[in-house]
């Protein structure tokens, strides 16, 4: 995704954003809204209207929090991707969303040992989730729960009845494999 010709480097774009330049913000939206909407849709899989609301919230938050963005810690897209992922997971866990999804509560299914099935059903053919399909099932479940459902390693260890260290190791290995598939 190339940044518009108006901004030759990410550095320039970030500086314009920090000046609250609305034109810079419009360019940012044009360049990144599609990629961020994709990740939101991979987390909120069943409600396009809600996903659109989250995208709106994400860009408003990007505008408001741009001063907290620290370039030494990562690229602008990485920062925005994490805002989008966190907002999506927050929405997923919100009471109103939970009430509309009572029949699909994941932890119950996981405890009953049907996690694999449940996760497979939730996999869409887009983005990272598409790559996720190439992983071994026991790895795929962990990435699904950690990245797309937002559970902590501790929660996953408890859910799956496996040691915390194993969860961490498997997730790291799964991520390394994912990265290979990305290339």
């Amino acid at each position: 995704m190339g940044i518009s010709t108006t901004y030759n480097t990410e550095q320039e774009l970030v500086l314009a954003l920090k000046r609250r330049d609305n034109q810079a913000f419009s360019t940012l939206y044009d360049n990144y809204a599609g990629a961020l909407y994709s990740i939101i849709k991979q987390i909120i899989t069943d409600n396009a209207e809600l996903a659109g609301d989250v995208l709106q919230e994400v860009f408003i938050n990007i505008y408001r929090k741009i001063d907290t963005y620290d370039q030494t810690k990562g690229r602008l897209f990485t920062w925005m991707l994490n805002i989008a992922r966190n907002a999506s997971i927050d929405t997923l866990r919100s009471k109103s969303y939970q009430n509309s999804q009572k029949n699909q509560e994941l932890p119950d299914n996981v405890y009953k040992g049907t996690a694999n099935q449940s996760v497979q059903l939730n996999v869409d053919n887009i983005g990272l989730k598409k790559v996720l399909e190439k992983l071994k099932p026991e790895h795929r479940v962990l990435v699904e729960l950690a990245y797309f459902k937002g559970f902590t390693h501790e929660e996953i260890a408890e859910m799956m009845s496996i040691p915390l260290g194993t969860v961490k190791t498997r997730i790291r290995n799964a991520l390394l494999q994912l990265r290979e598939y990305l290339q």
């Binding site: 659109g52 995208l55 408001r64 991707l81 990305l182």
Partner: protein, 272 residues
């Protein structure tokens, strides 16, 4: 620390994807300040991730950009505090929108039903009014005709009851022995009435004609049919008459009677 092992451990991916714990993040950021190769490795993965994500980009819903730009254009520049309360505000507005559109839908549906019901009632009322009007007209017509008939009957009865009325009994002639009729002659106002008792049916081109015989000369008193819906026929007036006679004449009557077809004859007191 073996930085190569650290780089290959998956910590970079976990950190970039937001799956590292807080202590892991702190350690990673600390090490980044010491090892440029770690920063380069991180950057490499970030670029891969960004490239993949932009390849997988999806068309966002239309209208989101406009809403975002509206929100930020109106947003205060140096006030982070009210800022964070705005996204929930947007959600609340949408809830309200849903609620009011539900109410609107209900009101719209109720209006349509009410309109249909009112239209039906109006039509029924119109129809009923029209029916009543029609039957009222019919009743009035019937009443009028009944009144006329009644008036006629009363008038006729008055004639018959009038003491000044002379009753002349007409009897059949040799030509028509069964023919009979009565003439009621009011000498005070010269009115002549005829009551047909029995007169044979005539061909359609013929009519009976009533004559008054005054000093031997027949005077036309009008024509009539053998059958009439009236009980009493009003004929032409005459001041004098020694006798009344009925002949069969052509339709509409003749200026002078065809005496050989005389059907009945009745003499008045004046002839005596």
């Amino acid at each position: 620390m073996n930085i190569k092992e650290y780089i290959a451990s998956g910590i970079i991916e976990a950190y970039v994807l937001g799956l590292a714990s807080q202590p892991e993040r702190a350690e990673f950021e600390q090490l980044c300040t010491q090892y440029p190769e770690l920063v380069a490795a991180r950057r490499e993965f970030e670029e891969e991730l960004e490239k993949h994500a932009s390849e997988q980009a999806m068309q966002p819903p239309v209208g989101v950009k406009v809403k975002v730009l509206e929100a930020i254009t109106g947003a205060p520049q140096d006030a982070p505090a009210p800022v964070s309360s705005n996204p929930p505000k947007i959600i609340t507005m949408q809830n309200e929108k849903r609620g009011s559109s539900g109410l609107l839908r209900f009101v719209a549906a109720a209006s349509v039903i009410l309109l249909v019901v009112l239209t039906w009632f109006t039509y029924q009322s119109y129809k009923q009014n029209k029916d009543l009007e029609n039957s009222n007209v019919a009743l009035n017509e019937k009443l009028n005709s009944t009144q006329k008939i009644l008036d006629a009957i009363v008038n006729e009865t008055n004639v018959l009851k009038n003491p000044n009325t002379t009753v002349v009994n007409m009897v059949g002639t040799k030509v028509a022995p069964r023919s009979s009729a009565n003439v009621y002659w009011d000498s005070t106002n010269n009115n002549v009435f005829l009551v047909v008792k029995n007169m044979p049916q005539l061909p359609s081109d013929k009519q009976y004609q009533l004559w008054a015989l005054i000093d031997g000369k027949p005077t036309d008193l009008g024509v009539f049919d053998s059958k009439s819906d009236k009980v009493i026929l009003k004929m032409k007036d005459t001041k004098k008459a020694q006798a009344f006679a009925i002949t069969i004449e052509k339709q509409g009557g003749s200026p002078s009677p065809t005496l050989d077809s005389m059907q009945s004859l009745g003499k008045t007191l004046q002839s005596q």
